[in-house]
Symmetry: C2
């Protein structure tokens, strides 16, 4: 992954980022000069069409970072949180980490051959897609527990890195880390250029995402909040200490778990939060409940051609992966959250597209 | 607290810090020039006597931050973790947070009068010091649970701030936040000037310490790892979301819980770790087990005159608060950890001393 994403994603992104970053700094520095919205738009967020979503972002940054603004936010208070799956990168047809877990099943069974005839491992090994698709949540948790816990933290990290380096998404035939959304990478950089500390707040595994977050999103491990199991401290035969990943769940970082995780790991209410599904609802509510200017945005996947289309909000096809209900859509509209239309708001989705 | 510690501690410290910071930057910048140890010592860490401890710090920073050093550490990897009680501020005769909890008992009993005749609350209300000193750990946990959980996060934060603003240590008659160790404040700043991200990793309550960490140590809430209970997300009568502090313990950030907490909250192994008691042993072991240059230091309270003297290491009086056993002392010596003698290594202990 090091070479690939370092060359593929980052070079192109850096070009853009360099431009938009410098422009953003110039435009917002000094504090006395509040730039006209139009001037900002020319250079920042180049993959975003002019529209309600882009304007909401530019306006938020302007009113919270220009020193003369009545809604100015001190730099140390500037926290922005991003869901990952479906918000920063592709989550369909299945969450990437779940693909990882399924891919790990043969290795786990090789180490524990007695699992070969035990469900749900037997079904996964059969390769029968129809049967696999019917596995229950309980089955899924058994697979997650077997593939994400029980090993040392060091071994786990090495396994994830190796997989991330070699696995390919079946549709685009590219590393999963290439399937990050360019407009969101621009947004992360735009916020950071304006003093915002960017966090991932994901229902995915904290340790899993931390393995690539810095390379892919320039978000260091300590700024990744995710579903987390405990670890147990122990010593190897040579007396060297190491940590083992426990099955014990400490934080289920979904739904109400997102604001709870933000409090646990950050200890401040975000000023901006970004998500795309019902799992992000409470994070956005919590963010908007803070005083002063707050930004809450939801990405709607309404672009079947360039990516995927699912809801069931707005008549889009229903899904179990990244569900965006009509109720969530209505709450967004009634509470002043901004819905990003992938189809209409994004000029380009991936960095690898020409 | 805002005014007091902002004026008392910080002004004097800033003078020192400004000097040592600039000098440190100059001396370590560029990477080609490794300054002689003597030159460094003149301007940095002015409250530290020349000795093994000060030299260990200066050497560590030099070899990990000078680019030409074979043990150079990338800036983003530079993590330093500090225990709080007994390492950054006074912990005797009793941990400050425990004093807070005892002070809160009358308020809690006022809200729940039925507790007045229930132990251990009855004993605490009696004011009988001898009886209070004999309370068991179980009793103590009951007091902690009653005074630290059950309220909203916002209410708790307001209560802590109010207490920190008004409570006084009985010996020095000063706010507890004045009882931070000036040499450690210098050390925090020296490390930060050299690109280290400084964390508190405390057995104390994460939410408690976060209320003053930024003002007192310039450590923001997201860089405080501590004993943490869960929270529960809910809504008030107006439908506004808020978090309630649960009694459910998520992380007991002591002993093995310190490396476990570091993994949970930071996700990187520290390059430097500082403690003062058996509760810090695993954090120091874990830190030293990392590759490359690592610094592990323990503060020995051997200064009965200026602060307190306790061990029982090295024949010092035994204590239940911040125990530093002879076994810990011997492990430190055998593993290359540095023991700081408060008596011999520190010229000055508090900023308020002339």
């Amino acid at each position: 992954m090091k070479k690939r994403s370092g060359q593929g994603l980052s070079r192109r992104q850096l070009l853009r980022i360099g431009l938009s970053g410098a422009a953003a700094t110039f435009l917002t520095r000094g504090g006395e000069f509040a730039p006209p919205l139009q001037a900002q738009q020319q250079d920042t967020l180049p993959s975003w069409n002019d529209g309600v979503a882009k304007r909401a972002i530019l306006n938020f940054v302007r009113v919270t970072t220009v020193a003369s603004s009545p809604k100015f936010v001190q730099p140390k208070q500037r926290i922005a949180t991003f869901d990952q799956d479906g918000t920063l990168w592709v989550e369909h047809p299945m969450y990437t980490q779940v693909v990882y877990c399924f891919d790990r099943v043969p290795v786990v069974v090789k180490e524990k051959p007695e699992l070969a005839n035990v469900e749900p491992f037997k079904t996964v090994l059969s390769g029968n897609r129809e049967a696999i698709a019917k596995l229950s949540m309980d089955d899924l948790f058994k697979i997650l527990a077997a593939t994400l816990t029980g090993m040392s933290v060091d071994d786990f990290e090495a396994e994830v890195r190796q997989w991330i380096d070699t696995a390919r998404d079946p549709r685009w035939k590219r590393p999963y880390t290439d399937l990050t959304y360019l407009p969101m990478i621009e947004l992360l950089n735009y916020l950071r250029t304006n003093g915002y500390k960017t966090y991932i707040v994901t229902g995915g595994g904290q340790d899993f995402v931390r393995e690539y977050s810095d390379k892919v999103y320039s978000i260091p491990p300590e700024q990744v909040v995710g579903t987390a199991s405990g670890t147990t401290y122990g010593y190897d035969k040579q007396g060297r200490p190491f940590l083992t990943k426990d099955p014990k769940l400490l934080l289920n970082d979904n739904n109400a778990g997102k604001p709870e995780g933000i409090h646990l790991m950050i200890g401040r209410t975000p000023y901006a939060a970004f998500g795309n599904s019902t799992g992000d609802r409470q994070m956005l509510e919590y963010t908007k409940a803070g005083e002063g200017e707050r930004l809450a945005m939801l990405l709607l996947h309404d672009d079947a051609k360039r990516e995927y289309a699912y809801g069931p909000a707005q008549g889009l096809p229903d899904t179990k992966v990244g569900t965006f209900t009509q109720a969530l859509y209505d709450e967004a509209k009634s509470k002043g959250w901004t819905v990003i239309s992938m189809k209409n708001d994004w000029i380009r989705i991936f960095a690898f597209e020409q």
